[in-house]
C-alpha cells in the first residue's frame, strides 16, 4: 500500500472500530495503568538512592525471612498436595451422599483467611486453651503428653507450623478440585484392564493413577509454591515474631515507615515467584520427556 494512503486507512479503520475500541478501552486502561504503576514503582524504589535493594541482601532480617519463607514453601507445598489428593480420592467415586460431602469439603475456602487464622489462634491459646487442655491430659479420654502448656506462638517451628496448618486447611478445596479433574481424565477402561491383570488397589494407585495424575500434580506444585511464597495473612496473625517475606514487607512499610525497603522486598518476592515458576516449568518439561520415553 502506498505510504501516503496508509495513515488514512488506519484512521478509517479506527473510526469504524471506535465502538469496539470504546468497549474494552476502559477496563484495558484501568488494568494496564495499574500494572505499569506497580512495576515502575517497585523498580524505581528498589534502585533509588542508597540502592535499598543492595542493603537488603546483607540485612539479617531479610535473610531470615527469606529462609523461613523457603521452609514454609518447602513443607507446605507437599503437604497441600497430599491433603488435596486424599480429599480428591475420597470423593472420586459416586456413593450415597457424595454431593453433600463434596459441598462440605468446599467449605474451608469460603471462610476468610483472617477468620481461620484467628480461630487457630484461639484454639491453640497459651496457657489455657482447648489444645493445651487436651495435651495436658485434662480431659479424661486423652493421655497426658506434656507436663507444661505449650507456648505455640513463642516458638519458631511451632508458630510457623500453625501457619502452615491454617493455609493448608483453607486451600484444601483448590488442590482437591484440580486433582479431581485430573482423576476424571483417567478412563475407566484402564482400571478394568488393570483389574483383569490381577492388580490390587494399591498397585492400581501406584502404577496407574499416580503416573497419569502427573500433569495435575505438577500444576498443583507450581500453584501452591507460588501461593506459599506470597502468603501473608496466616503468618501475620500466627507467627508475627518470626516474619515471612510478606509479613516483612508490611513491617517495613508500617512499623519502620520505609516504603523504599518495603518495595525492594516486594520486588524480590516477585522475582522469587518468577524464578520458581521457571524452575517448575523446566521440571514439567523434563518429566514430560521422561514419561513419553517410558
Amino acid at each position: 500500500m502506498p505510504s501516503s494512503i496508509k495513515p488514512f486507512y488506519l484512521l478509517h479503520k479506527l473510526k469504524s472500530n471506535l465502538f469496539t475500541i470504546g468497549f474494552f478501552i476502559p477496563a484495558f486502561l484501568y488494568l494496564v495503568s495499574f500494572f505499569v504503576i506497580i512495576l515502575v514503582f517497585l523498580l524505581k524504589f528498589s534502585f533509588s538512592e542508597g540502592i535499598p535493594f543492595l542493603q537488603l541482601l546483607s540485612a539479617d532480617d531479610f535473610k531470615a525471612a527469606l529462609w523461613r519463607t523457603f521452609w514454609f514453601m518447602g513443607v507446605g507445598t507437599p503437604l497441600q498436595l497430599v491433603v488435596g489428593l486424599l480429599l480428591a480420592l475420597l470423593i472420586q467415586q459416586s456413593f450415597k451422599g457424595v454431593g453433600v460431602v463434596r459441598s462440605f469439603f468446599m467449605i474451608p475456602i469460603a471462610i476468610p483467611a483472617l477468620v481461620t487464622a484467628i480461630i487457630i489462634d484461639l484454639v491453640f491459646s497459651y496457657p489455657f486453651g482447648p489444645i493445651n487442655d487436651l495435651l495436658l491430659g485434662r480431659h479424661g479420654f486423652f493421655p497426658q503428653i506434656v507436663s507444661v502448656p505449650i507456648n505455640w506462638s513463642g516458638s519458631e517451628p511451632l508458630s510457623l507450623g500453625l501457619a502452615i496448618l491454617g493455609k493448608t486447611w483453607r486451600d484444601m478445596p483448590i488442590s482437591m478440585l484440580i486433582l479431581l479433574a485430573g482423576l476424571q481424565t483417567i478412563e475407566r477402561e484402564q482400571y478394568e484392564a488393570a483389574r483383569t491383570m490381577g492388580a490390587k488397589s494399591w498397585q492400581e494407585f501406584k502404577y496407574l493413577t499416580l503416573p497419569l495424575l502427573t500433569p495435575a500434580i505438577l500444576t498443583i506444585l507450581i500453584l501452591r509454591s507460588i501461593e506459599n511464597w506470597k502468603e501473608f495473612v496466616f503468618p501475620f496473625i500466627l507467627a508475627p515474631a518470626y516474619p515471612l517475606l510478606g509479613v516483612l514487607i508490611e513491617r517495613l512499610y508500617h512499623v519502620e515507615q520505609n516504603p523504599a525497603l518495603a518495595a525492594s522486598v516486594a520486588l524480590c518476592l516477585v522475582a522469587l515467584i518468577g524464578i520458581t515458576t521457571l524452575v517448575f516449568t523446566l521440571i514439567t518439561k523434563m518429566v514430560r520427556k521422561y514419561l513419553v520415553r517410558v
Partner: protein, 288 residues
C-alpha cells in the same frame, strides 16, 4: 462449575469402603472443628472461656447466650465497619461490571487483531502478589489527589483491580454462549449496536453476570490486605480490618468469635445458595 462425572461403576472392595468411610468422617471432623469452635466461643459465657487453669474448657458452654451479638449490634464502630464492607463490595461489583462487561462483550463478539496480547495485558496485573502490589497501590491512592476520595471508594477501586480480570473472563464466556442470531435479528429489525447490547444481550447475560457479581462481592467482603493498607490510618474500615484492630486489644474469646461469625455467615449462606442456583441456571441454559 459444572457437574463432575463420577466414576460410577469402578469395583471397590468392602475393606476400601470402610477405610474410605472412616477417612471421610475424619476429614469432615477436621473441616467442621474450627467452625464449631468459633460458633461455640461466640455463644459462650465468661466461665466457659476464662478457666484460669482450674478446669478444662468445656465442649459446650455452661450457659450459652447471645450477649456478644447484642453487644455488637449496638456498637457504632462494628455496625459502621459492616456498612463500609457492604458499600465497598457494592462499589467493587458496580465498577467491575461497568468496566468488565463491555470489555468481555468486545472480546467475545468482535474480531480484534491480537486478542491474545490484549488478554495477557488484562490479566497481567494479577501476576503480582497481593502483598507486593499493595505497596505501590497504597502509595498512589493514599497521596493526592486520590486521598481526597472517601476510603470506601479507594478500597472499592483496589478491589475492582483484583476482581476485574476474573469478571472479564466469566462475562466473556457468558457472551460467547449467547447465539449471534439474536443480535442479527435485532439488526434486521433496526436496532443499533448500543440498543442491541442494552435491551437484548444484558438481560440474557444476567445469570452469568450475576455469578461474576457474587464472586466479586465476596472477594471484596473477605479481602484483607488491600483494605488493611488503604485504611491503616483513619477510623472507617472494613470488617476484616475491624476484626484485626479488635484483636490487638486482646479481647475475650467470645467477643472476637462473635465478630468472626458475623463476617462468615453471609459467605456460607451464599455459597450454598449459589451452588444450587448455578446448577439450576446452567441446566436451564442447556435445555434452551
Amino acid at each position: 462449575m459444572y457437574e463432575l462425572q463420577l466414576n460410577h461403576n469402578t469395583p471397590v472392595d468392602a475393606n476400601m469402603k470402610s477405610i474410605r468411610f472412616i477417612l471421610i468422617c475424619l476429614v469432615l471432623f477436621f473441616i467442621i472443628f474450627p467452625l464449631f469452635m468459633m460458633t461455640k466461643y461466640s455463644i459462650s459465657d465468661r466461665e466457659s472461656i476464662v478457666t484460669g487453669g482450674e478446669y478444662p474448657e468445656p465442649f459446650f458452654p455452661f450457659k450459652p447466650n447471645l450477649e456478644m451479638f447484642e453487644a455488637l449490634s449496638i456498637r457504632k464502630d462494628f455496625v459502621g465497619a459492616g456498612l463500609t464492607s457492604l458499600w465497598v463490595g457494592l462499589l467493587a461489583v458496580a465498577f467491575s461490571l461497568f468496566l468488565g462487561a463491555p470489555t468481555a462483550f468486545a472480546l467475545a463478539r468482535f474480531r480484534i487483531p491480537g486478542v491474545a496480547v490484549l488478554l495477557f495485558f488484562l490479566l497481567s496485573v494479577r501476576l503480582f502478589p497481593d502483598i507486593s502490589a499493595v505497596i505501590p497501590v497504597a502509595e498512589l491512592l493514599l497521596s493526592r489527589p486520590f486521598s481526597l476520595l472517601p476510603p470506601v471508594v479507594l478500597v472499592g477501586l483496589a478491589h475492582t483491580l483484583l476482581a476485574l480480570p476474573y469478571t472479564v473472563y466469566i462475562a466473556k464466556g457468558v457472551f460467547e454462549s449467547i447465539p449471534k442470531d439474536l443480535e442479527e435479528q435485532a439488526h434486521v429489525l433496526g436496532a443499533g449496536k448500543a440498543r442491541t447490547f442494552l435491551k437484548i444481550l444484558v438481560p440474557l447475560a444476567l445469570p452469568g453476570l450475576g455469578a461474576a457479581a457474587i464472586y466479586t462481592f465476596f472477594l471484596s467482603w473477605n479481602e484483607f490486605i488491600f483494605a488493611y493498607f488503604l485504611t491503616f490510618q483513619g477510623t472507617q474500615t472494613t470488617l476484616p480490618v475491624y476484626l484485626l484492630r479488635i484483636l490487638s486489644w486482646s479481647p475475650q474469646k467470645n467477643f472476637i468469635s462473635a465478630i468472626s461469625l458475623v463476617i462468615c455467615i453471609p459467605v456460607i449462606i451464599f455459597t450454598f445458595l449459589v451452588q444450587r442456583y448455578m446448577r439450576e441456571g446452567l441446566t436451564a441454559g442447556a435445555v434452551k
